[in-house]
Symmetry: C2
């Protein structure tokens, strides 16, 4: 067994792997987000990581194909999921008769994107998604519910500094149509989506290159760069264009505004921002992104919106939905690198039990007794010296130590040491338990 | 967008996908197991699902290769993990300087096995693993700690009917050596491992075919089929063989027995059972399996043991470890099919808020108010009729409904209906909150 050749241990790049101290914090975030989803009566779903390629790539177009982890296994052409939305669409299409609508589901899980590794990009990443899907028509309060959910999620993970930027794609759809560019809408949106990256001038030039008249391009840019509090911003744009789709966008935004007010959300933390476009083609109405204003360089830490054709690839029924997605792996990485991780995660180990002499069995008895009383503890049964056992207790930061020597076993009183104050008392099992229960 | 051809939605076979009502129960089990691991001061780890094939297949031998999901991505030959043990070995080998030993880690995650789908077999399955790894020598109390952990895990998920069957591989290693078959030990163990499946007679014949003398084969079978309470069973076998390895096995079992007693575990729920061998080559000492005696047809619902060469493929250091593994997907499936799932999971949705007339905004205000007070509720904002909204509330089993009509908005008192008794009161927001807090 020991004649193996040694293989240098290594991990694929672009895959996050945390040391336990950090993993505890990651899990804290994940648990808190999960609790928010549950407390808002979203139901859990856990679709497989592997799916038929035909299913996962049904709607992707060319770009996803290159990124996706795909393989042949037996007779099956299969892929690892690259998001949680397509699996949701597949699931609902298959199981719709067994579900209650609006179907509110959340899924927290890993997705896989084999793109070139870049700074801050991961090939394996956790997404925390929550979606509301209607059997057919889904009214606008659902969009407000999702935006409220964003507030709850970030409050739960102690990120109070957020700004939810909201738009409605019908505004630009309508404007493009009114200006006569309805057959170029997708391309125009893709260009406008990058306006903050490439600047107004480059955007203008690119639009003109596409065949948009300069005057029209300017109009599109003006509206795209408009943002501010809902009431005021809506006032500014409502009369710009009488196109029906445009006006539908206005009316949806107005209605949404009413619901956001009903929810009593902090008006400093959300605004209308028409530069929010979202790359995905499937968004049809409300779209939103969330940023941390003090760290706008993080970009969107949460995003989502409304789609009206979720299951169109798998069924003839038109199901409307709206959802949010938090890319937790990327967010965690950003918080970590900027020293912004929560300090709220405490070591749950309360007591280390240390034998002095041949008292292991007595230590295990103490351990069982304390654990029965709900106290998180462990016995250091290693063969290291008493001194290094005490050192280790100190190193792992355990607040109390119980030392069990042979003499103590006879007397059934044990040394109970406070590792912070250094204070040490001789106590019975019951007394130790009492002391610890108080803390 | 709607000119797509429709693709029939389908899921790969051998992949569990639960409806939300069942997923809630699955998550309950997973959360409870996680809590047990944390309360016993195991630290979380979350290694990537993808690894270099060279790493994952380092120790596997031929059999795993066929089952593994493997692909070429760019320049990399990669695999999806098929267990959580090899990734642990890789992780510890890479990060050992940053860890405190004994390193107690748990990992709950999906593993992938592309074997032929059979009844009760899954290709994607959750494993819940907890391991204790020493920097070098790891004393035997660690084995007892793992066995105690098994008790805690199953208590937490309300499976009280368990039997932990414990053995030590040195017993059969030593006996094989003493009988002169040291070069056939692995093959003999593989045969003996199947004794309950194929029966004593077939085992005898197979051993004789291998070249074991009938008398010796009988001796091996006699000891393998021995089981019972520790004290008695140990008495029966301690003098059978004076071989040094055999006697080491005896002495380890005796020491383990002392610790299990110190832990005060229910002696009706564990026993010595020498038919427990475990297929994996890497087990070196203590091995154990857990069954449900009233459903022995489930087979092992938890297994584990001690390995003394965890990192031997990735490093020259010899690290000893001991661990347990619960195959949660398979266990859940068995419990489900036998109607044994916990009934302890309650719907956390307490209140459905239903508009009567044009009162959506008022409903959302109520929703925000109740949620601020920690009450799980939702508004039914769909365009369905009032009657079908009430029907749906009934269907999803929500215990209370608040009906908000236009008149009620003016008076600021609302109809609060108990869906079980049918009792309905007119209450203010604060009164509703008070009532719900009481429940």
């Amino acid at each position: 067994m020991s004649e193996n050749k040694i293989i240098t241990p290594r991990k694929l790049s672009g895959f996050m792997e945390l040391l336990p101290e950090k993993q505890v914090i990651f899990d804290y975030y994940m648990d808190r987000i999960k609790k928010v989803f549950l407390d808002n009566s979203f139901l859990p779903l856990d679709t497989p990581i592997l799916e038929y390629s035909e299913i996962l790539l049904a709607k992707s177009g060319g770009e996803v194909d290159k990124e996706v982890y795909r393989m042949q296994k037996g007779e099956n052409d299969i892929c690892m999921r690259y998001d949680l939305t397509v699996p949701l669409a597949r699931f609902i299409s298959m199981e719709k008769d067994k579900l209650t609508f609006p179907f509110k589901r959340f899924q927290i899980g890993k997705v896989f994107r084999g793109e070139k590794p870049q700074k801050g990009r991961f090939r394996e990443l956790y997404q925390c998604d929550a979606d509301i899907v209607g059997q057919d028509n889904l009214p606008l309060p659902a969009d407000a519910e999702c935006i409220r959910l964003i507030f709850e999620v970030f409050k739960a993970i102690e990120i109070e500094d957020i700004l939810v930027q909201i738009s409605n794609r019908n505004i630009l759809f309508g404007l493009c149509e009114a200006l006569g560019y309805q057959d170029k809408t997708s391309q125009i949106l893709i260009i406008l989506d990058k306006i903050h990256k490439i600047g107004k001038e480059n955007t203008l030039a690119t639009l003109v290159d596409l065949g948009v008249k300069e005057k029209d391009a300017q109009k599109l840019i003006d509206i795209t760069t408009l943002s501010g509090k809902f009431d005021k911003a809506l006032e500014k744009i409502e009369d710009i264009c009488s196109n029906q789709i445009y006006q539908q966008g206005i009316s949806e935004l107005k209605e949404l505004n009413t619901y956001l007010k009903a929810y009593n959300l902090d008006e400093n933390k959300y605004q209308l921002d028409l530069s929010i476009i979202r790359g995905h083609n499937y968004y049809t109405g409300t779209v939103f992104e969330t940023i941390m204003p003090s760290h706008s360089e993080f970009g969107a830490i949460c995003a989502g919106g409304r789609y009206d054709n979720l299951t169109s690839y798998f069924s003839t029924s038109q199901m409307q939905g709206v959802g949010i997605s938090v890319g937790l792996t990327r967010l965690f990485d950003l918080l970590d690198k900027n020293d912004l991780l929560t300090k709220n995660v405490k070591n749950n180990l309360k007591v280390e039990i240390i034998p002095l002499g041949n008292t292991i069995s007595e230590c295990l008895k103490m351990e069982a007794y304390l654990k029965e009383n709900g106290i998180v503890c462990q016995t250091n049964y290693t063969s290291s010296s008493f001194k290094s056992k005490m050192k280790q207790a100190n190193k792992i930061g355990v607040p109390y130590v119980i030392i069990i020597g042979e003499e103590e076993v006879e007397k059934q009183t044990f040394a109970f040491k406070d590792m912070v104050t250094g204070n040490q008392q001789m106590l019975s099992k019951a007394q130790i338990c009492e002391q610890l229960a108080k803390i």
